[in-house]
Symmetry: C2
Subunit: 471 residues, 2 copies
Amino acid sequence: MSRLFGQELRVINMGLESFALNLERESVPVLQVDWKPPLIDDPRLIDLMQRADIAEANAEVVRRVQQGRPILQGVSTAGEAIPGMDKHLILHAGPPIEWKRMCGPMRGAILGGLMLEKLAATPQEAESLITGGEVKFAPCHHHAAVGPMAGVITWSMPVWVVENTAFGNRAYAGFNEGLGKVLRYGSFSPEVIERLRWMTQELAPLLQAALERHGLLDLRNLIAQALQMGDECHNRNKAATSLFLRELAPDLAVLPAEREQIARALAFMAGNDHWFLNLSMAASKSVLDAAANVEGSSALVTMARNGTDFGIRLSGCGDAWFVAPANFVEGLYFPGYSAADAAPDLGDSAITETAGLGGFAMAAAPAITLFVGGSPAQAQQYSQKMYEITLAESEVYRIPSLDFRGSPLLIDLLKVCKTGIRPIINTGIAHKEAGVGQIGAGLVHPPDGCFQNAWKAFVQRTGPKGPKPQP
Amino acid sequence: MSRLFGQELRVINMGLESFALNLERESVPVLQVDWKPPLIDDPRLIDLMQRADIAEANAEVVRRVQQGRPILQGVSTAGEAIPGMDKHLILHAGPPIEWKRMCGPMRGAILGGLMLEKLAATPQEAESLITGGEVKFAPCHHHAAVGPMAGVITWSMPVWVVENTAFGNRAYAGFNEGLGKVLRYGSFSPEVIERLRWMTQELAPLLQAALERHGLLDLRNLIAQALQMGDECHNRNKAATSLFLRELAPDLAVLPAEREQIARALAFMAGNDHWFLNLSMAASKSVLDAAANVEGSSALVTMARNGTDFGIRLSGCGDAWFVAPANFVEGLYFPGYSAADAAPDLGDSAITETAGLGGFAMAAAPAITLFVGGSPAQAQQYSQKMYEITLAESEVYRIPSLDFRGSPLLIDLLKVCKTGIRPIINTGIAHKEAGVGQIGAGLVHPPDGCFQNAWKAFVQRTGPKGPKPQP
């Protein structure tokens, strides 16, 4: 023992960095190994990771996602386009949830939705409708749809219709309302409802007519370009919005509508750097839906939050949700707000990360750090880390600062369990109370519970009946 | 001696890397120092670099450039707006040059310009006008103007009017014609002339009317945004073009013109990723012109090429040009073309590099390497290298991948002479013959001769009467 301490120390330190820092201060040579304990400590994990049938199922999921072709078909309304929609059904973000467990901003958005549909004249009336059992709720995800933040979609709202032409399935998302007081952040003031009415009555018909003139619009191609232009197409959509507007402006300009209406449509889109977000989400959804239900696959095809729970779905586990309480977002707050005001992580927008965009493509968007915090170097590290828990690299979405490497694609439950590395999501932060709106933006991880629950279900469904975990 | 070779070697190698590589292969520890011989070997160089009055003059140039506010005022015609313009005067890129020394593409563009102005009906007629002495030539730079490639500006052409509102001076540039067969690359076919006529008759009045509705447009702000979106605003202007169109589309849409004309204007700009280049150039020119003629300053305020000569101008040397034969561009050629087909380096567009954009901001535009060659890592190195020969870092133009460091700003003749590092310029490549057009894009340096000539003039004008250079 005295011999050990007598000789010169050369230390390898794993995990907690503070041990290494202390040694460094004493001039002891020390190698810090960035290591996390696995999320699941179960010998069956290694077996499953080596199983050929699981690898094949995952390869099939990868193939389907790489081949996905999200094409914007046009504009419709939720009532007309979304399968199973109904006038008293309200779609919301995240996994299923009852009214009484919903967070403030989701409640606010639902109250606003009921007023928009003229099912209620006041928030009080809307609430009694709900407590009287006259309103049904369902996740957007159960209806081939996605919505950012509260994600509320009601009967009369306009929706983008995106078809994954490689597989024939469609996905839907509403229009983006911009920042400030907006329904998706739980605001339901008259100006919010007014804007939504204008979208339905004026903006949607114009965009539909312009898109008819323009013809199909390849969203995959547009997103790929935007990644070369500093977007990651979740919280930064400035380039994608500009490219979309640039593409559609000539067709809008010739429409036989009042010039002021056309100008208003152009100005609204031009005034909203997040305009493209909902298209990015619908594109991601249409691609991932075609990769769902591949028996045996450990790939995530959904990550979504309702502001109370975070839910994930696996391609190999049918329609089952694996949920756990949603985390709080770490990020930058607008002046006057702090973490104490924040609702937990909220929205379907993590569909972008699930499809290799957003946090996974942050290296493409150094300027996003001004909005969500961190530095360009960190943004690069976030993307790089995600290669350790994904199954593939996108063949179309390429990251310039990583030498045009394809973005990390398709989170593997088993790799997350093995490495303990959680997917990174960048996101907006809503005020916890209904009616306030956005108060910041930042970064968040899904809770460990989602993966632990998914692991149990996956191992039960996919076997093997290997040895039990060590006590 | 034997003692030297007996002991363990630790080598520092300067310059040629192959020596270091050989030692590395023999496992000898070797430190490679990236060093170039100075361009000027003259003891007066160090004296001048330490002179307080020169430092002060350079600080004044830096101050003026940092304060520059290039604001787009509107659209006019060369004849109306450009001081000293005249119907028989043709402005061209680069330093002054006579017809007989002009390169193919510049000659082609001039023939096209004379036909556009209906001074000649055929290229032959145009050429006899010239040889008959009925046409005058002058650099754009002598008339507060800039033009990409051949840079030909004639009487009736529409021009952007940019005012540097901090100093009250104006700069002018024509409209960008797009790629393919265009006047600036020396094409003068009927379709080229037709497009230029359409620009004058239809596009320019629409843009002028839209800009009048829109109000002043801050180009510095727009360029700063584009640098966050993968542009360097010389050979990549995709984001800036999109932002410009997005900004102006609502005002175009409400104009009391035929809808088809408005749509054509929007579609033309949307179809040309280089649309913004001429605005980037006029903005750069307006800022640098306000920094010219600061006695004692060793800062470059002009770099320009006429396809035969490369010329630079120093703030501290009045209007004098320092010229040397233009280099050939190293880059990527379009299919079917090679270096043997290329004209030498051409155009006023190096005004962007002179103002801290283009090659100097390449780190902001990793995707440009697909167009001009190299890798994103090299693009970053190019920008970083330029800090060694510049006087300042831009307070507005920031490079995300360098942690938002300001772009390297204002080339210092003395630093170039001392380090031997040449400014990097990215640029299009024109076919050497008139009438063909663009055949590639790449990277180029000004010839050493420009700096050697400028050095002689600067040392003569600014003193000191120090010791003569060593023989």
